[in-house]
Amino acid sequence: MTRFSEKALFTLLLCLFAVLVLSLTAGLGRVARMVPLAVAVPTLLLLIGQLCMDLAPRLAEGLSRWEKRDLFSVEPLREKSLGRIETDENGEPSPRARRERTALLWLSVLGCLVYLFGFLAGLPAHILLYWKMRSQARWAPSAVAAAGMLILLYLLLVQVLEFPLYRGRLWDWLSRASM
């Protein structure tokens, strides 16, 4: 997927969100819908405009002549300083898309682990797996980091604050199955 189509896709998703809100607004009472309607309509129009610009770069280029984005004229200086660090360290073509997918995958793993095993088991497990598999650290430091998180969570939240931590769906299912 190219960067351009991703840009348009993201704007399209935002458009769909605004359309959903607008359709739900239609079902609301007169008073309850007044302010949301006044916001949703211009927002949707702006999003559609942005989508058109994403789909037609020439249109965006033409319109950008009418709008000055760098109001304080600092972009040349910003480019001068930040431009030199925004390339890959080894100078190779950026494998950013792959790393991005991996980052999103690991975030999903975190969500799943917390949902299934709760915080006390899920967060240390995520650290252990991340260090070992993603960062390619050795087993010993990975286990120490995970144990550190477990001890911190247990002492601070369970023992000191007595906070009712989420236990995880898996234990609920298992306890229901054993009954």
Partner: protein
Amino acid sequence: MSESILQSAWHGLVLVLSWPNILYPVIGTLLAMAFAFVPGLSGVTLMALAISFTLNWEPLPILLVFGAFIGGATFMGSVTAILFNIPGTTPSAATMIDGYPMARQGHAKTAIGCSAMSSALGSTFGILVLIALIPVMRRAILAFGPPEFLMLAVWGLVTIAVITTRASMVKGLAAGGIGFLISFIGFDPRTAELRYTLGSPYLHDGLGTVPVFLGIFALAEMIHLSATGRRTISGGRRMEELKGSIWKGAASVFRNFGLFLRSSIIGTVVGMIPAVGGTVAGFVAYGQAVLTAREGKERFGRGDIRGVLAPEAAHDAKDGASLVPTLAFGVPGSEGTALLLGVLTLHGLIPGKELLTTRLDLVFVLIWSLFLSNWMTSLLGVATVGQLTRLTVIRTELLIPFISGLAVLGAYVSNARIEDVAIALLFGVCGYYMKKQGWPRVPLVLALVLGPLFENNLHITLRLRRLGRIRIWSRPIAAFLMLLTLATLALPFIQARLSRRARP
């Protein structure tokens, strides 16, 4: 300055310096220093993480800690900019232009000394301006009623959407609109009718601001850090012994005091404009340093100490000044103050009349904490710079699971609902793509915080209008703000036209 203000200032200072209160700004500053030292993390990430863990705290420690977070992050970001050519925080980017060449020429300590002194004095300048403006803000705020606050919210949001650099106005305004729409989820304040809940009881009270903050500012940054793939801060470079003289660097601020004052004034003015932020302040100050230099202009960019002094003074002076619109009108000047506004609102401290009159001592607690943390960061930073450079060999990606874990835990702790974790993850992904595709995040967050106040003030204004109690021309401030909003919307187009004319 009236006696009550001086009394509040004294009371605030006593509160900050008393035991164990003093521990809060100290710990807050140390945490902010650590976060600012690691590229990819920032004071904003720290603030987002801290919101949920401090939900049950009293307002006093909250203000002490968050004041320290705002003040503590700025100088340390410049140390990595000078030593490694990587800004720890984005506003330090302008410092790199001359700071890094100075370090390469064996004047690293001189650049750091100059940065520390300029930072500390610049922040003091911004804070003094803030204190001097408190009587003016108090008088101004008394003239504000619901129509004025309504127009102020609209103007603030429009300004943030328009001025946020590197994003088009359409994106800024649409992001603000989406933030408002999200804020409408839950019960309608007037009719108690449910809106946009899709039948889920979880959404009856609306989306919690804490999970959204954590997602947009903390998780999104972790995805970004992971996607950019930086392994260590130093990039594998070996850190040589730091050379130069801290004292010589510090003294250079007094040798170039005119430049320091000009840069601090720029930082203060820029800080008061919503959403412009420290990065712009730093670059504008750098630009004026080059323009106004009487001699040696060619040295800029090759390691001139004035190129370190100017941006440092400006982006630290901005800290105090950005609290002016935040505390008086609830319109934040930066990402950090947007989060501070969220924290204040969560703890029932609504910026404006009440905060500046009956809770003025708390305002001074925030100001003193900011002052203390700025000086502490500079002094500690200079004293420990040799040891801190050892932290630069830590692989930043190893921190990602810890920060992500704390973010999802924070989202849960805020309300003890697992759905909040899903919301934080969803907004984390959304925030990452917003950042990647050039959509500004601050208008969305600000609209989410201001949404209920906006709707409430709109309803009151309309009701007053129906009852014949107000006419738009009888409210000059509201009318002025309306005109200002229109002028702000027109600003990019006017500037584009002017710059086209100026081109041959």
